[in-house]
């Protein structure tokens, strides 16, 4: 039971990381930059 839960959660996390990765790769289309950065 615990293993099934861990596997399911892992797969969901994998999907979320992939989603974030796609966001990152296509970052040029991301939100506008609203706050200037002090470097």
């Amino acid at each position: 039971m615990k293993t099934t839960l861990a596997t399911t959660y892992s797969l969901l996390l994998v999907l979320f990381i992939l989603y974030m990765l796609v966001q990152y790769v296509f970052r040029w289309q991301n939100l506008p930059n609203l706050i200037p950065l002090s470097n």
Binding site: K2, T3, T4, A6, T7, Y9, S10, L11, L13, V14, F16, I17, L18, M20, L21, Q23, Y24, V25, R27, W28, N30, L31, P32, N33, L34, I35, P36, L37, S38, N39
Partner: protein
């Protein structure tokens, strides 16, 4: 350095920084031995704590020499030789001892995930290094991280420069940057900062190795935990961006991580408190404050935690144990608190003597101090603090979201930088519900949460770099969470392993490719390449060249900018806006002009742009009209214009 072509100079600079780090580590090892904590620390821990302690020692010595007005290269060389004589023998013996450990580390690379993570780390570090070795042209370095050390070197003394509101910030890293300048290369200064990025990653990795890696389930993935921590941290795009300049964020993150590290081992690892390790934690806390004023927050929170732990143990223990705890309580509190007070007190005392306010220019409304008045507060352009109100939470969260996850690549200094935290750093925290919630993890989580919550209220109007410690702790927790989840099922391990490997590969590829605009300068054999770089990436560089060639040698430049850049101005200069009362900012142009003449000002460098004052609406400029009145009456025609910068003669 030494007038060498860039590539050869960088080789010399890398050798020099290696030697300097070696000297610092050797001195730190001696200090650890004096503290008698050596037996409880692993080899890696000794080297790590030793380097940080050595940096602190070296810095405080430079501060002392500077305050005495003896800041000359030979004096600093003598200090370095003395420190080398003190520390290098012990360092050499430690390295001898390290040989088997190094062999072991290389053997560990036979495990494929370890090899992969090592390659990620090496490529990310190499990419950051390539960017760090181009000529200094980054805003904060030009404004104060290197501008103040340049003034110290020129004056052979560490003085109070009241035109810069950064002049009395704690400056332990700037003392090391001063050493770099005295040795003839600002790239050595930048490399000092660069090493703190490596130290930060190493401190989190070693913490994970010692206190979080679980070997009882026998899963081989646990041996990859330290490298995964370092890989997640170093492949984060924001961190590569920070490591290219002489910032101080990672020095603070390292000191705070080490304070947490020593605190855990001193107080929480066993029922008996190890007072000597508590002293070590206090020293690291003092060093954190010595990097930045707000570096006191986390050590302060650890101090409160110490009191709470002592109280709880005293109440819960049986009477005999309670008595021992009570009788040792004062000793333990002092062991932690005194090093913080002594090291931090150095800066506070110096500031009080220089300006009348120990934390100048902060808290001027309570403590006053030089050139402070309610109408001309030197804190204005540092930004406002939103304060302890509920509205600060959603606005702080919005800022953090945009700055960490929602920010598109930014054009800075005519480069395009990826400054987000990437897809892995925060996301991996979602694996934590499957982690074993042991005490070291809880301490890390509470520390990260504390800094994060405080930042919502206090620093959400500043740079996201101020969360460096939180991000370091996130890398630590995220890596632990990922492995904790992966070892629970074979499919999970395969899926998570693949996607983490894919993400790290893409991040590393992206980071490696982003070095392209820097390669022709860093690896140049022609010194003109550095001029070309500055021409292309520093908008005001043509004005610096104009001043160098055309302005008389006794010229003094008035730099009218909300974020002025003095480091490359080839003459003495005064920042106009940061401490308005010092430079005489006044609605009466005649009075203002008289003050400028008294300061010897001959030229005015104006940066026409939206004033950047965090917390104020973009473009908010309280002095726009009065400055125009001054310009109309006393400025000559423009001498030279470059980008948004214009140089005038002051009549």
């Amino acid at each position: 350095m030494f007038g060498l072509p860039p590539l050869l100079a960088h080789i010399a600079e890398l050798l020099t920084i290696t030697l300097l780090v070696g000297i610092a580590t050797g001195v730190g090892l001696v200090m650890l031995r004096l503290l008698r904590v050596t037996p409880v620390l692993s080899l890696g821990e000794r080297l790590l704590f030793g380097t940080m302690l050595g940096y602190g020692t070296m810095s405080l010595l430079v501060l002392a020499v500077g305050l005495l007005g003896l800041l000359y290269t030979p004096v600093v060389l003598v200090i370095l030789v003395a420190l080398a004589a003190l520390g290098l023998p012990l360092l050499a013996r430690t390295f001898w001892e390290a040989a088997p450990a190094l062999r072991n580390a290389f053997n560990n690379l036979r495990y494929l995930p370890n090899l992969f993570l090592a390659i990620v780390i090496v490529l990310c570090v190499a990419a950051s290094l390539t960017k760090a070795l181009v000529p200094v042209a980054t805003q904060d370095d030009l404004m104060y991280h290197l501008a103040l050390p340049r003034r110290y070197v020129e004056q052979h003394a560490i003085n109070f420069y009241p035109d810069s509101n950064y002049s009395l910030f704690p400056q332990i890293m700037e003392m090391l940057y001063t050493v770099g300048l005295l040795l003839g290369s600002d790239r050595i200064s930048v490399l000092f900062a660069f090493t703190t990025g490596l130290l930060a990653a190493a401190s989190a990795a070693l913490f994970a190795k010692r206190l979080l890696a679980e070997r009882d389930d026998g899963h081989p993935l646990w041996q990859s935990l330290p490298l995964l921590v370092a890989a997640i941290f170093l492949s984060t795009p924001l961190h590569g961006f920070i490591m290219r300049a002489a910032n101080t964020d990672f020095a603070q993150a390292t000191a705070e991580m080490l304070a947490i590290y020593a605190f855990y081992m001193a107080v929480m690892a066993s029922p008996q408190i190890n007072t000597r390790l508590l002293v070590l934690s206090g020293i690291c806390g003092g060093l954190s404050f010595s990097v930045k004023y707000y570096g006191i927050l986390l050590p302060g929170a650890l101090g409160l935690a110490l009191l709470a732990i002592l109280f709880t143990r005293w109440r819960k223990g049986d009477p005999t144990v309670g008595k021992t705890i009570a009788s040792n309580a004062l000793r333990n509190v002092l062991a932690y608190g005194v090093p913080i007070l002594v090291i931090g007190g150095v800066w506070l005392l110096r500031n009080f003597l220089a300006s009348g306010n120990p934390v100048w220019p902060a808290l001027g409304n309570i403590l006053g101090g030089s050139y402070w008045s309610p109408a001309a507060d030197p804190e204005v352009l540092l930004g406002t603090i939103p304060g302890l109100k509920w509205e600060s939470i959603p606005s702080g969260l919005e800022y953090q979201y945009i700055a960490t996850l929602g920010r598109k690549p930014l054009p800075i200094d005519n480069h395009i930088y990826v400054v987000s935290i990437g897809p892995l750093l925060i996301t991996s925290l979602l694996a934590l519900p499957f982690a074993r919630w042991k005490a070291p993890l809880r301490l890390v989580l509470y520390s990260a949460a504390f800094v994060w919550v405080v930042s919502l209220f206090y620093f959400s109007r500043a740079s996201i770099r101020y969360l460096a410690t939180v991000f370091l702790l996130c890398a630590l927790m995220g890596a632990y969470g990922l492995i904790s989840l992966a070892v629970r099922s074979r499919i999970g391990a395969l899926a998570l392993g693949s996607v983490v490997a894919l993400t790290l590969t893409l991040l590393t590829l992206d980071t490696t490719l982003s070095t392209r605009p820097f390669l022709s300068t860093t690896f140049a054999l022609d010194r003109a390449a550095e001029d070309r770089y500055l021409d292309a990436h520093m908008d005001d560089y043509p004005i610096m060249q104009y001043l160098a060639v055309n302005a008389p040698s006794d010229s003094v430049v008035y730099d009218w900018d909300s974020r002025p850049r003095g480091y490359r101005i080839p003459h003495p200069y005064i920042y106009g806006r940061l401490v308005p009362k010092y430079s005489g900012v006044s609605p009466n142009p005649d009075e203002w002009h008289a003050r400028l003449k008294a300061l010897g000002i001959t030229h005015v460098l104006v940066h026409n742009r939206d004033v950047f004052a965090p917390g104020y609406p973009p473009g908010y400029d309280p002095d726009r009209e009065i400055f125009q009145a001054l310009a109309n009456r006393y400025f000559g025609p423009p001498l030279v214009t470059s980008g948004n910068f214009t140089l005038y003669e002051l009549r």
